[in-house]
């Protein structure tokens, strides 16, 4: 390949700043969407195991509906389909305060919330049913049982699959560029536009994503060890047999 690699374009001029901005936007949109997804996922996941049928149906409908339609479509829905339903004043406010960003947060959060709920549901279902009964038999209500016993245990059990989902969420945040959010992938394309150095720009993007994701999975591994229930969840590498 007769291509002159020129890595210096990544730090000369504005490109470094762009990458940084892109990274910050990716972090912002991902973390807000993550909080939303975790909240929705927890509620829907818990409801799907609840003993009250209408709650289960509602939560199942949410999950089946949102996780089976491509994220791209949800981006368009939240950006183009949603605002006309809002009061005019709110629409105007949003337009001046990054409507595309908030639409991206909603799309990512609601979509991944549906996927998180599956993770949480399987976490809850892996807790023996007798654990619920023990709590009920001391007079704890359903809500207290979930809040004090089931969810705290499930959260610890699901750290590995939840880490996976978190990484997926971060990587999926690049779909927000279709509605104009200037996140990391957007910025690497921007660099390409300005410098015509496609390989360098994409390499930079790839490395930043990789570092970000590895940092998160390392962090989650530490968290997993920290909150491990003493003597219960296998500590360290229990993978061998």
């Amino acid at each position: 390949m007769n291509y002159q690699l020129n890595w210096s374009i990544l730090w000369s001029g504005q490109t470094g700043g762009w990458l940084l901005n892109g990274l910050l936007t990716t972090l912002e949109i991902s973390s807000l969407a993550w909080l939303l997804a975790l909240t929705l996922g927890n509620v829907a996941g818990a409801l799907r195991t609840a003993p009250i049928p209408p709650f289960r149906w509602l939560a199942s409908a949410y999950v089946e509906f949102f996780r089976n339609v491509p994220l791209l479509v949800w981006m368009f829905f939240w950006y183009f389909g949603m605002p006309p339903l809002l009061p005019q004043a709110l629409q105007d406010w949003l337009l001046d305060h990054g409507a595309e960003f908030w639409a991206g947060v909603c799309a990512l959060g609601v979509y991944h919330g549906a996927r998180f709920s599956e993770v949480i549901r399987s976490g809850i279902q892996s807790i023996p049913k007798t654990q619920f009964e023990a709590a009920h038999s001391t007079g704890l209500t359903v809500w207290q049982t979930y809040r004090l016993i089931i969810v705290p245990i499930a959260l610890r059990l699901i750290i590995p699959p939840a880490t996976n989902e978190t990484l997926n969420l971060i990587k999926n945040s690049s779909v927000a560029l279709t509605i104009g959010v200037a996140e990391l992938t957007f910025q690497t394309r921007q660099i390409e536009t300005y410098t015509a150095k496609a390989f360098e720009a994409l390499a930079a993007g790839t490395v930043v994503y990789l570092v970000l994701c590895l940092a998160i999975s390392t962090l989650m591994a530490v968290v997993e060890r920290r909150v491990a229930i003493p003597g219960m969840i296998a500590q360290g590498n229990a993978s061998e047999f």
Partner: protein, 242 residues
């Protein structure tokens, strides 16, 4: 104290409890035994409404469980329960396992609850384990914590569902001893167990179940000396012979 009146229960098409009539007076210990699947667990789980019944009625401490206005939480604070699989909360220390319900349900102050817990741990013989986590205790110790946890709500009735059958043989006794003490102190107890030695020593009455029915209910001496029903005879011969 507890009264079953023509209680019937189905799981789908399976008739698990059939016309159960049974009265358990305050301060008495009743042992329930019978082959696997005969409905023993279901019977005692009806008492604190872990299972609901489809016909008949159960009266616990004067209130009818079929009463729509019955406060389930109050019922459950009055009826403690201990399971075969301990079911301690693995992410909490022994102390928190015991104090959780008194604090959250009865709104006892944490300090007060901890005082009660200390007394109970003393009583079940493991005063020094309050800061341990369940996974670091032996099975016998875990089951004793589970008993303390149930007692912390100051129940009037205690239900035991095969409390020793998940235990190593050496540990069975330490749990049975705690239960024997409790019985001596006058607690009303319903115990599903196959420990016939315990039944003989402690029970006031033995209820033998088969296929959802109470086949025989008798005093221990009579039951062991000469069970009336053929099914109970056969059952006893099997579990006592080995």
């Amino acid at each position: 104290m507890i009264e079953f009146r023509k209680v019937n229960k189905w799981f789908g098409s399976l008739h698990v409890l059939e016309d159960i009539d049974l009265t358990i007076e305050a301060g008495k210990v009743v042992v329930v035994c019978g082959p696997s699947g005969s409905g023993k667990s279901t019977l005692i789980r009806c008492i604190n409404r872990l299972e609901t019944i489809q016909s008949g009625d159960i009266i616990v401490d004067g209130s009818s469980l079929s009463d729509a206005k019955l406060d389930t939480v109050k019922l459950r604070t009055e009826v403690g329960m201990v399971f075969q699989s301990f079911n301690l909360y693995p992410h909490m220390t022994v102390l928190r396992n015991i104090t959780l319900a008194p604090v959250k349900v009865k709104h006892v102050s944490p300090a007060e609850a901890e005082k009660i817990a200390a007394v109970l741990l003393e009583r079940v013989g493991i005063p020094d384990k309050s800061q341990a986590y369940p996974a670091n205790l032996s099975g016998g110790q875990q089951q004793r914590v589970a008993i303390a946890r149930a007692l912390a709500m100051k129940p009037k009735i205690m239900l035991f569902d095969e409390p020793t059958s998940a235990l190593d043989p050496e540990m069975i006794n330490e749990v049975l001893e705690v239960m024997t003490d409790l019985a001596r102190d006058g607690m009303t107890m319903v115990v599903v167990t196959h420990e016939m030695g315990f039944a003989r020593r402690v029970a006031h009455r033995i209820v033998f179940m088969d296929q959802g029915r109470i086949v025989e209910a008798n005093e221990p001496e009579k039951f062991f000396a000469a069970p009336e029903s053929a099914r109970a005879q056969q059952f006893l011969s099997k579990i006592l012979s080995h």
